[in-house]
Symmetry: D2
């Protein structure tokens, strides 16, 4: 995934383990495989015989844990960890998770992937009642609800609190004697459980993290479930029975790692099928198929295979991270773009190219890549997008909450084609997407959340309703 | 290229520009696209109206130039830059190039890609005569020769000195009023010249750097040539006429970026052809073709295309850099390996897999990857290597100077197969390699250096001769 | 003050300013002059037109604000700042102040110098009622009390809360439209107000900070007072009238900077008088007076002046900070000590030396210095301590809360003399101390807290009572 | 010494040890006590059984050796070290010493304190003959001379080379089997030898370094001497017999640490005598004597003792390092000055103050301090300088090489008094200085270099002659 040139980002990945002598080190490996889900900061909280100890910091996991010393200090037989994505400017370590709380009656830690739709009103209510928040993340809310609950047991307090928060959430909680995972009633975010040879339980946002640590996949956490793991083993409970699958389709399209399985469907294979279906829906005569690295390579190879047109490396992404200083001239700014992604003139020169990408947000990136290809000598550039047009915002954990940034919200496919300067443009159909992924839950769209494409939100929007309605009335032109 | 798990590495990339108001910034972009050629350190020397100013440091380019301030100080209309590869442990900034010299009669700077075969004897001779060296790089030697030459002009001194040094070298020199490039008599290392829209001349180790900065390719520097660029324009001279092309075949196979052209041949296309040829030479019945990311993806797609077997993403490389702490247990060490590269069980499970890689050095990496695939459920793993077996060391700029590290130097293909635990193993033939690259210079092997595979060194080995002869007699077993 | 070799340390300094265009920069200067009060961390919160923005970090002020960029961001016409002392190991940035809170109804920030005696019970009570703390500092408590108070105005809530907390405290609070200072009912900690030429008000832990920023001293904050500063000017209010001065005598003896005035008494002059009184109380025949740098130089020069014995530089403290690695041998450990403080053999050789120090805690430092002098050739070393023996712990803001670390708690003066290997030893009398400082408040000991020396605590000890009583019964021997 | 506000600085300190199992750690301690002689950079070269290994870096010793790891690597039974002072802007690690050279016939390292007067012409000559220099320090010259010498033995080559370099120098050289020290023919810079209990020999710029490491003083290195230390013991040789003591008087006045002895004279005692003599030469009626911290405290206490006027702490220097950002307003700049040094109004208010300082360079610092005292309320400020007026530049190792920066070069004492806004001003007489130090070498000025005060340079000035003559003709006004 080329984060530098994209504007869609998800908010976080979580990883937890119970029952391993090197719990924090295993968590480090697991989080590393989830690094694509968040690069703003990372943290680990270890459970050392009932005492929770944590370390967190800004930056990539490898920057936060620069040497082995910090991991050395996080000794313990259980741990939870978190990688965080956040929009630029928020960069305070106060928001980096897991959050660790030291109460007179014990320690608690909390990690969260997702976005609450009633966070603002809950927070205001709590503050009015004397609560003090220390971050601007909505994750803290759950802990305030738990601590203020009048229920007797921790589990009952947790259930009450989980019913109070709305939206998309996958929580991972460390208590002194257990690890608890919980998923929202729609299962927007993926969350899976595995088991290691030594019996340790592992919970992770994606199954790729299970494979990295050598854990065998056991089951996905289902909507509305609470999973309690402790020295007695694993118990499945639930905080609601009013559930319905609505798995974020963008996980399949763009976010998740290709080697992960979500709800039993391999992500690479799903993407390859999207490419194949796209080839059938929108064929075009050309010399080669080129994928936009890295997230579109599966779809591109699918398109190539189905169409019989050769798959070529017409775009190369520099594997090294580049700093992007503010450049004084337009020429230097263009070089800065090519420094990250360049078109291979030795491959595309004089050729008709099918450029396969996974999605279009603003269109600026697509236009840039089309132009890179043309500057490198491509005769024609036919853009094929392996997902339907993005027309609506998301409030369940993806950071586009306004339609202003979505070119397809305001423009026809042909207008977009003109804007990105392509010779032709097609998107995958909604049905094509659903068929390619191939879920079969007894729920709308076979269990996928398609709101991004059709505005059919699976839940009320609460605090966001007003903002959403206003955005529907906005008339924005990208021209 | 997965540097963490490989043991072949090249020594450096160079980039220079003459006649651009932001010369250092353009050099920064150019060097970034050459970062794969060296990660130990980087530096830039700018020419500010005849005064040379430099900055260099250990680490990746983006670490050396952490913010814009250093580039800001390197103002000037010309610049040369360097990225350096070095074996671990040498880590002193004294060896980072370009070397900058301040003489009473003017400034000079020097950057070098390659390896001299008579460095040791030249250095001893010079030291006996009172010379003081300040690095343990062989690059300094040329400057001592130039400064001690009795010839009248700088150019004549340079020519005399270039005739004294032997081996593989691509030099880039900054003087107060010019930029000079020079290539050894065999052209072991690539070196190309481009021109920008504003008229600026650019010299770079690979053409990908020309594309990044928007320069049009003009010509390759030929064996034995000296290119002088100054305000008068570009002049082609030579220090010897006794030349013969022997371009390093490993540049095509492994080192160079796929978007570069070397001697007019696109690297991705050459690799794809190697894969196609390999498919013809060594077919096998299987369900899918999987390339080892990233350097073998072109060859793998070629194999897939030629064989008609689907190309799948059965191996995923983590795009984020991971620190490799020393791990206390075998289990953690294995997780550390999977953290960087993991097999996709959702793709390979129950399948017969053709695993395409570019080369085998010690065999340990290959065995690890074969095992990753098998642990992920692959039924059979057939390894296909898109180059001939590596049997001999290199003395022209690649850091394997002993046969001890080359499994193919001591073992048959079947022994290697056993060692890497593959179900079958084939290498590309020497002829297949030469045909796939398709050079047609009037020289042995059409202009390629094939010494790695057949020991046919295009030059005498000078200081290395003794060591080489000894290595031929060694009997080493990898079992 | 030689922090490296001492074990008494105070907890923090505060500085605030209202009404200055460069409020944060002035705060930086003010805090720098209070750096001796805390080196663990530092922070500044600025008020930018009602919006509070903050920055804090671990380390010295100059390490936290490494370049001008952070101060640049803290624009605003008011600011509060804090330097924190803490015992080793607690090193989390979560405890660094000022604490900044973002509520739905406005921003608040809080900085604190002192120690609460009922913190533990208050915190437990609050947590039972659902409060969540984010640091292990007792400073947060006040904010929870304020936010939970049912009073109508902020001022009334603050007053109620200040009456709930017990012990020693000097608070500095930033609201959106004012800066508020408050001092405990005994005035344990110093807190002074000044005014700048431009009309800006300044509040600081010590008057040296007023002088540094060019502010004229207006008044000390009195016990029980609340000072409200806003665009209307300065208002003096109070939260209790049940007050009685008990200024920490250790501020005069050791903590405060010599150029500060506390309650109108200059610290250097007070120390010099302690030295003079000590000379009268405990004369001894000798060749020279030597002060232990830096905190005892005033007392030593007073002793010299009153006794007529020459004042010499027989001990030199290295002005540069030294890292103290764990040294493998006893010889190296001794060198490590001398690296920081060395005796001047050229001065003391063959002489009878009066060594003046401000206090003795464990006695180990004194013994070390006596031995340094003897190794350098001193014939006799007569130790004179310019304060009475430290026999009791402190609970109002100094970090010795157990008698175990106080040699004088368990041993006679003669036993201590033997322990520190001095030829003679005398302490200043309690009366001598009170007279030398010369306060004249209508309160016990003229307004000084003498509990350190005589156990006469001016307040109940609340949560510490039990621990204190236990400590009285302990029998510890330093031999 | 208040480096931040002064403009006189010396170039370096050296330390070496032979025959100690922790040679580098001992060198670290020794260098730390010489840190006042140079803060730009530091380095250590250890001799590990004949192999020299080194580490150096920019910044204070404690910044260069941030943790124990670097020292750990510098194992060996001998070591030499260096702290370097340099004017701002030169900040390249290339100039940090010791310089370490790896020749085919062995390793050599070199550290240098001083300044050569014929460096420029020697370097040009050497470069014309093919030599390549890698720093802009003049230290490298000696190594080029040694390596080019035709003499047979290392010692003979060294002697020949030492006779070729002119000016002030104290060299410390590490060879594979010995440590060699050499001092110029006038002994401008101090250099002393000590011996540790275990028999190890130590060489250091100042005796304070001997004391720190517990070494007993043996002898000073005399002008023209070469000291060879190896496993056989210590040998005294010489490279010239044409010697005459001319010890830099500024070492006694300002540079050296008060606990050092130079030529058998303790620096603190010499300074105290300067103060006493000054009191006799220039008495004045006043309430107190105040020394400018830290370098003038000895002289001030001498003045107080001789005059019977009380010695008070009227100026306080902040012991913490402050960063000096460029301040946007004059008010902030003044606060920045006071942040480092402040006057104590509680002490000086309403008083007649005698301010004792060691020297006046430009006069700007003196004026600032006089004004600090007056702003703090001093009624009168009488400045007494414990050295004669500085009128001439120095070419032997102190960084004022022009008369432009010396107010006394161009102005009478009364003009200076006016400039610094003092009520009266007196300097110590030249005779008073010589008597106070009390050397008795058979040489002009009893063996002191007085050129700073009277222009009587003990040697020809070589490359500086022209520049010096020109400076004599300059007419600069400080008004």
């Amino acid at each position: 995934m080329s984060y530098e040139v994209r504007s869609l980002n998800e908010e976080c990945g979580v990883f937890g383990i119970w029952g391993h002598p090197d719990a924090s080190r295993v968590t480090y490996f697991g989080l590393h495989s989830l690094q694509h889900r968040g690069q703003e900061g990372a943290g680990i909280v270890a459970n050392n015989n009932g005492k929770l100890i944590g370390y967190r910091g800004l930056g990539l996991l490898s920057e936060v844990f620069e040497d082995d010393q910090q991991l050395e200090k996080l000794a313990g037989q259980a741990a939870i960890g978190h990688v965080r994505y956040a929009t630029a400017g928020n960069g305070s370590v106060d928001n980096i998770q897991p959050f660790l709380f030291k109460f007179y009656d014990g320690d608690l830690a909390l990690a969260h992937n997702g976005n609450l739709t009633n966070a603002k009103s809950l927070r205001k209510e709590l503050e009015k009642d004397g609560a003090i928040f220390h971050s601007n993340s909505d994750t803290e809310i759950l802990m305030h609800l738990i601590r203020r609950s009048q229920k007797e047991t921790f589990l009952d307090r947790l259930k009450e609190s989980l019913n109070a928060v709305k939206g998309g959430f996958a929580y991972l909680i460390a208590t002194e004697d257990s690890m608890v995972a919980a998923l929202d009633a729609n299962g927007f975010r993926p969350l899976s459980i595995g088991r290691m040879v030594n019996g340790a339980y592992v919970v992770a946002s994606e199954t790729c993290a299970l494979e990295v640590v050598g854990a065998e996949f056991i089951q996905d956490v289902n909507p509305g479930e609470i999973i309690i793991i402790n020295d007695e083993g694993l118990t499945v409970d639930h905080f609601t029975e009013d559930t319905q699958h609505a798995i974020c389709s963008m996980e399949y399209i763009y976010f998740a790692r290709p080697d992960s399985n979500i709800a039993g469907v391999n992500v690479h294979s799903a993407r390859k099928k999207m490419g194949k279906t796209l080839a059938k829906e929108s064929p075009v005569d050309a010399d080669m198929v080129v994928g936009v690295p890295n997230s579109s390579l599966s779809a591109a190879s699918g398109y190539a295979e189905a169409s019989g047109i050769p798959y070529e490396m017409g775009l190369v992404k520099n594997q090294y991270v580049a700093r992007t200083f503010i450049q004084p001239t337009q020429e230097l700014r263009e070089q800065g773009v090519r420094m990250k992604l360049s078109a291979v003139s030795g491959v595309v020169e004089g050729k008709k190219v099918i450029m396969v990408d996974d999605s279009i947000v603003r269109g600026t990136t697509s236009r840039r890549i089309v132009n890179l290809l043309k500057e490198a000598g491509a005769k024609e550039v036919h853009v094929r997008i392996a997902s339907p047009p993005l027309r609506y915002p998301c409030f369940y954990g993806i950071d586009i909450q306004t339609r202003k940034e979505l070119i397809a919200a305001n423009h026809t496919v042909d207008e977009i084609r003109e804007c990105i300067e392509a010779d032709s443009l097609s998107f995958l159909s909604e049905d094509g997407l659903i068929q390619s992924i191939g879920l079969n839950f007894d729920a709308p769209y076979s269990g996928l959340c398609m709101a991004y494409f059709n505005g059919d939100f699976p839940t009320p929007l609460y605090d966001y309703e007003e903002q959403y309605q206003a955005s529907l009335k906005e008339k924005i032109s990208f021209f």
